[in-house]
Symmetry: C2
Subunit: 205 residues, 2 copies
């Protein structure tokens, strides 16, 4: 099935694993970090830096008329061109969507590709099941407590929302921006894959 599928997701709702399962089922690539690598190549920023900045937001709008040109940025990265990163990322998303059927996770792809026939999926889950999932999947060496993980999950959601809202002018997670929203507290990821496949079939994709 030839299609572009964009995936928005609450932190810890299983987006990455879902993208992998969907990629296997449909036989099309899922772009996540590879998008960032693509951006890095095109902008000559170090990939590590781009990875850090992607899905974070300037603390306030970048005003093009500010003295100094590039504006004010978040998180100690003063003088770093966050808007340029967004623009390069946008180019990469458009390039990937032009290139072949694929799955794109995050990166405001649903908004960037809004003029095209994509299937826009949003994954969500209740906070407790997201915290549980993240605790179960902690990389070796990390040892967050449940309380710390809950704070991390909530902070990541706030950052995603800030980033998305800032660049799209709409609201992250607002159902109006998606074709289907799936609750992974109650639906298994395998079931979510079945559902997306059914939705694609219905579109004749």
């Amino acid at each position: 099935m030839a299609a572009i599928i964009t995936i928005g997701r609450e932190f810890g709702s299983g987006g990455r694993e879902f993208a992998r399962l969907l990629s296997e089922r449909l036989g099309i690539p899922a772009h996540d970090r590879s998008v960032i690598a693509e951006i890095a190549q095109r902008t000559s920023f170090a990939e590590e830096y781009v990875r850090g900045i992607v899905e974070r937001t300037p603390q306030r709008p970048v005003l093009p008329f500010l003295p100094g040109g590039q504006g004010v940025f978040f998180d100690g990265h003063a003088e770093m061109p966050a808007e340029s990163v967004y623009r390069a990322q946008r180019e990469a998303v458009l390039f990937l969507a032009d290139h072949s059927p694929c799955i794109i996770v995050g990166r405001c792809a649903d908004y960037i590709l809004r003029e095209r026939a994509t299937l826009r999926v949003f994954l969500y889950a209740d906070l407790e099941s997201r915290v549980r999932r993240c605790l179960e999947r902690q990389p070796e060496g990390e040892n967050h407590s449940e309380r710390e993980m809950r704070q991390l999950v909530q902070r990541m959601d706030r950052e995603r929302a800030r980033y998305y809202d800032f660049y799209t002018g709409t609201t992250w997670g607002d159902r109006a921006n998606y074709d289907l929203c799936l609750n992974t507290s109650s639906l298994s990821l395998a079931s979510a894959v079945d559902i997306v496949e059914a939705a694609l079939k219905g579109r004749g994709a």
Copy 2:
């Protein structure tokens, strides 16, 4: 497939037609007005009256300690026991869910059946496509203008939200209350039926 499916929906998003299509596909009944008939039998209210009150809300909370007992009700129906209607309706939903696999449209059924293994679906669509759908389906004799229909659609949504929020203490349309939310501006109703069938399969229903 044995299952209880509850359907919440924005006005004009195709909920009634969707319930009919799903009922045909799954071979289980869809309860809409029949729920109301059931309530009417159990409460001895005239069906017509119950139909009028269902999915509307008291203008303000019914305070059990108000002089006069039954409280204050909306829409000129002072002294009519709206809370009793809700209670009877709740009983009817529980009765129907106990009785056989079925589809229940509206009536806070997702909330009333929250302790059971239901599949909770919410249908939504952008305002313009809902207005268009309603205009196309106007019963003979009715002749609303586009502007009137837009106002009607918005008013019906407000009433549904007021009713749902009042009786459930949560927020109508909040994705957390549903397993999947489907945008019928972009997904056909036939496709929505496929999607729900895929979701049921994934639950082993």
